[in-house]
């Protein structure tokens, strides 16, 4: 197992924002492994191809990524950490290109849309859709498109030897993505960490007031809720799923008591992970 001890799978191509998040968890000696899809990331961890996985779970503009919540429910991995990454879009090109020669800008459509002010101010520059931000940067590495730039993260510019033409291209600076670190085994928590639990459940019945009673489980024990979200259960029409983040360590009696109390009132209860609260915006 030694050889995989620092391996971490992420979705995308090298230089993706997810890879930056992976490095922020494990540091510069991390061995990052690119995978095509989020499901491939979960599978790589589950099948012991890698030690860890990293996936985005919510973005401050785009919202929660339900697909990754679904994958958390359909796999038996543990959340063991979180980090918040500010998404700074950078305009980059081959070192031989100049700012004035740029006529095309490649990136993922969502990143292009998040930089709409730049395109409004530069009417002569055409945006070109690409699969992902880092892939757009990679496509410029060989210097064959001197009139083309890419929008991606700074890390991609460094990785592919591109020149940064402009930083902070995004319309709104409050663009954060929260990433989760996944593992086959639960986190080893330090004894006094500010610990957070992520749980998922479906109420036993969709009764009026059921959510109020569920939150009572935590309120009556002075446990602070950090996030709550309901969504229709994709596996069963008209049934709801809830995701809850709470402040507390499940080794503490009032937290474990609350989780036991909750499990009496719900079905499909899952403790997705207990992990140190990450710093950052969200």
């Amino acid at each position: 197992m030694k050889h995989i001890s620092r391996t971490i799978a992420f979705q995308g191509v090298p230089g993706a924002y997810s890879e930056v998040a992976a490095r922020s968890f494990l540091g510069p000696i991390a061995r990052t492994v690119a995978r095509d899809t989020f499901e491939d990331v979960f599978k790589a961890v589950q099948k012991e191809k890698v030690r860890y996985g990293v996936v985005p779970i919510e973005n401050s503009l785009a919202g929660s990524i339900h697909e990754n919540y679904d994958l958390l429910l359909s796999h038996r991995l543990h959340i063991i950490g979180e980090t918040h990454l500010r998404i700074e879009h950078v305009l980059m090109a081959h070192p031989a290109s100049s700012r004035r020669s740029i006529r095309f800008v490649r990136s993922h459509p969502q990143a292009l849309a998040q930089c709409s002010n730049f395109f409004r101010k530069n009417r002569g520059i055409k945006s070109v859709p690409f699969f992902d931000t880092a892939g757009a940067a990679l496509s410029l590495q060989d210097g064959s498109s001197p009139d083309t730039a890419a929008i991606a993260g700074r890390f991609a510019a460094r990785l592919y030897g591109l020149k940064i033409l402009k930083r902070n291209l995004e319309d709104r600076r409050e663009n954060f993505t929260r990433f989760l670190l996944l593992s086959r085994t639960p986190a080893r928590l330090p004894s006094h960490a500010r610990t957070k639990c992520s749980i998922a459940f479906a109420p036993r019945k969709n009764q009026v007031g059921i959510l109020f009673r569920i939150l009572g489980v935590f309120a009556l024990r002075d446990i602070d809720l950090l996030k709550i979200e309901s969504r229709p259960d994709p596996r069963s029409v008209f049934q709801y799923l809830f995701y809850l983040d709470l402040a507390g360590d499940p080794r503490m009696p009032h937290v474990s008591g609350a989780l036991e109390h909750l499990s009496e009132m719900v079905t499909h209860f899952r403790l997705l992970g207990a992990y140190p609260r990450g710093s950052g915006h969200l």
Copy 2:
């Protein structure tokens, strides 16, 4: 005002899923107006360029679209209706093309990702990113790319005279998007409709248990909650915003009483709209 009475703005190009949602609200005689961005849709309604606007607010796989919640808060429009559209991805090409001649498939990267099984089974077919699904369909209209297909909605195939090569290309059938109908004036509610209210607020303080007390406002009056979501307020770090959908008509005393009671406990309270509950999955 007569001439704009059936006009409705949507984001995207003609044939977009949003345009299908617009027509499901207003019927076939709707005059749909394409806009580049979600903000442009809000502005078109606010500046009386159109009577109505339609925007997606949540998708069963991708989650809530926070950007549109932010736009609801920064504009003074009313939600007057909702509809749930099943997203069925269809493979389409120019009528002169045959299924066997297809080598490339254009679509939005998210749609391409949602059809990953198709590309796994058809290794010889390459996916090509495009700004949007309907735009990919439009690009095939002139017949100049006989080896290329697009993934978009059925409506786009009809609009651009394309042939449907395969239906239900998506990996997961439980792919629904909820759209909101927006207007400058509140909905005129029929007297016995199953009415729903969407509200947004920030708790006055981030105290432990504040959400429990807030939900008590509704639970103690037997008002059913249909959706709840918390998110960090993008305008103020470490402050939370809540979005709540509840079953009830604000003209009924127990509902108006609950909303008044709530406004004592929160800041930035907004009734985003009261409207008939839409049918569909979510």
